[in-house]
């Protein structure tokens, strides 16, 4: 039997920002690791975007050695405590686990998290040292998952790495986007510190494209540049009333709470949450926003989504967590207008009923409006969580950087190099919004490509 993850009780956790999942005990972790069949051709490893030696770390853990188990993970993944918490394992490693065919797959994510937490708590972390010291500088733009993963690998190859971050704290979406109750910020900081200890310099308050350009970086002696700026521009619905007061992008709402800590009384950044909150969208970000609104004291929080439950992009675990915490779901419901009161604050989210039609390009059945069927949902706060587009700042400030039709950075798929020699890009700024681990995988691939490129330059 798969070990259940101990959690804070739903009614209790909906009142606080402490982490929901409490983590395994050592006994639970060893028992769970022992369920692994140690497959000769492990499919779980194929399912992992960064190809962690999963049977290898599970074997060490099963033998009662969590610290060496963490060292094994760290060969491939520099952010294990984070990935153990936020990776969609059900679609990756655990989704491919052979044990999962007839029963529950091994809880690989929970175990990854366990070994990282264990080592941190007992203060015995494996120390990684660069293979060699190379006399070359590489600049990494953005300190989110793609940038951090690239920086860690580049440092291990021996480069002098500087990470440039525009906000005042590093971590990107790990810092401003994912809430404390799902990913405690102390843990984020701890894993970033471990990357700094590899010799990576992290410089905050630098918006590349404005504070410095790519040309400035080359002039300052960087031999290669990695762009991992993410997809930062929030999408809106483009419906009437969207600029009323009380209407937030999920980015703004979550940034106020996570980065600026508006949920703590000693921080000065304001936030307003009404009694009735509607969150438009049904991805992980929408669930995060809804559950955050609930914790900030909203009486009624509702996910409003134009498709049905099957098509919701959020992880099942997050949908279930939200349901347990009392989040309501208005499905097949598509916002068409926001209506305000006399102070220009939203009070009604007018929606049209939808039905499911034929599958679209994504394979999901397309929502089709039901003629003349509208419902008015009361809402004094509306949070729009329908994804993001490419942030224009770096792109417009960089001559010669080729973009795709959708406005993302165009790269050579083999080596992730952009149209500018020596400039590489990966993560959401190339693919559009994806997951933390996909961005990390792409960042690592770019780091290897940069290494190969610089070796080749050396040879010439």
């Amino acid at each position: 039997m798969r070990q259940a993850m101990p959690k804070q009780a739903a009614e209790e956790r909906a009142q606080n920002f402490a982490e929901v999942a409490l983590g395994y005990t050592l006994e639970q972790a060893i028992a769970e690791a022992n369920r692994c069949l140690q497959c000769k051709r492990p499919l779980c490893v194929e399912g992992c975007p960064v190809h962690i030696d999963i049977p290898g770390f599970l074997k060490l853990l099963a033998e009662g050695n969590p610290i060496p188990a963490l060292a094994k993970i760290k060969e491939q993944n520099s952010l294990p405590a984070i990935c153990g918490r936020v990776c969609p394992q059900e679609n990756q490693c655990e989704g491919r686990c052979v044990v999962g065919i007839k029963g529950d797959p091994i809880a690989i994510g929970n175990l990854e998290r366990f070994v990282a937490d264990y080592a941190r708590e007992v203060g015995q972390e494996p120390v990684l040292t660069p293979a060699q010291s190379l006399d070359k500088k590489v600049a990494v733009i953005g300190s989110g998952p793609a940038g951090l993963a690239a920086a860690a690998d580049l440092a291990q190859f021996g480069y002098q790495v500087t990470v440039f971050e525009s906000l005042h704290a590093a971590g990107g979406v790990l810092r401003y986007g994912i809430p404390e109750f799902r990913l405690p910020k102390d843990i984020v900081q701890h894993e970033i510190d471990a990357i700094s200890e590899l010799g990576v310099e992290i410089v905050t308050n630098h918006l590349i494209g404005q504070t410095l350009t790519l040309d400035d970086l080359f002039e300052a002696g960087y031999s290669a540049i990695f762009i991992g700026t993410g997809a930062g521009l929030p999408n809106f619905l483009n419906i009437p009333g969207e600029n009323l007061n009380g209407v937030y992008s999920a980015n703004e709402f979550l940034t106020r709470v996570n980065l600026m800590k508006a949920y703590l009384p000693e921080y000065d950044t304001p936030i307003k949450v009404g009694q009735k909150v509607a969150v438009v969208g049904a991805g992980n970000v929408a669930m995060d926003a809804a559950r955050t609104a609930k914790r900030l004291g909203a009486e009624e929080v509702r996910i409003v989504y134009r498709r049905s439950r099957q098509e919701m992009p959020a992880r099942l675990e997050e949908i279930e967590n939200a349901e347990e915490e009392g989040i309501l779901f208005s499905l097949l419901t598509n916002p068409v207008e926001m209506i305000g009161d006399e102070s220009n604050t939203v009070k009604v989210l007018r929606c049209q009923r939808m039905t499911l039609g034929e599958p679209d390009q994504s394979g999901r059945r397309n929502p089709v409006p039901v003629p003349n069927e509208y419902i008015d949902l009361s809402a004094d706060t509306v949070i729009v969580a329908i994804g993001q587009g490419p942030n224009p700042v770096l792109l417009r400030g960089t001559e010669g950087l080729a973009l795709t039709e959708r406005g993302y950075i165009k790269v050579n798929e083999e080596n992730l190099m952009t149209s500018i020699p020596g400039v590489f890009a990966a993560g959401d700024i190339v693919t559009g919004a994806a997951t933390v681990i996909q961005a990390m995988g792409a960042g690592r691939k770019a780091a290897s490509a940069i290494h190969a490129y610089l070796l080749e330059q050396e040879g010439n």
């Binding site: 005042h168 929030p234 992008s249 703004e252 940034t255 304001p270």
Partner: protein, 275 residues
Amino acid sequence: MRIVEKRILAKGICLFVIEAPLIAKKAEPGQFVIVRHKENGERIPLTIADYNRDQGTITLVCHGIGKSTQEINQLNQGDSFLDVLGPLGLAMPIEKVGKVLCVAGGLGVAPMYPITRILKAAGNHIISIIGARSQEMLIMTEEMEAVSNQIHYCTDDGSFGHHGFVTDVLSQVLQEQEIDLVVAIGPLPMMAAVAKITKEFAVPTQVSLNALMVDGTGMCGGCRVTIGEKTKFACVDGPVFDAHQVNFAELLSRQNFYRDQEQAALHQCRIGVGR
């Protein structure tokens, strides 16, 4: 980022010259920075009121209205801002157009100064109209005089210059002479009133909008403004926009959304129970 000079310009309005060599190197008129003065303070956008590329300094002017801005104004020479990010936003496009009217109210004089300086340097004839509540609240008059061919002052209480609003003088000037461009920076109601008048005279008009924002890099969308029929982000698409396209009423109500919380925070810190 260290404060190398602080001056009190008027009651509640302070000028800071800070060491920020990278920002000073890139700054252009119309751009802004975001500062944080302490770990639990807000991210506050401030327009760049001047920059000195040789000395590596930028000048910021802060009006202590909310808790964070009042605390910023307590900083002294030798103190440092915890964070300064910039330059942000797009620079105002500057060319020689002929006669330019620079209309600034209150704190708006600060961001207006570098714009006026560059407009003058580009060969324009500058007529400035500067307004404030009273004579003591008029700021940066010497600087503005140095870059204006002609200057008018207005005070609400009549303590200096014209007794009345900048818009009174604006209408008069527009009736008397051909103006090629108006730039207006100040409180929203002032910019809205300027836009209304210059539209009647069909004079192209630029305004600099101080929308609420968090990150200042396009990420939060809190600073969205309606320009024409389209939503724009003041931080990355602005902050300078065509005044005749701006929906001022919407912006004004967005501006006031947190007013009650700000007042509460201020009250708390005044009576000493704030943390």
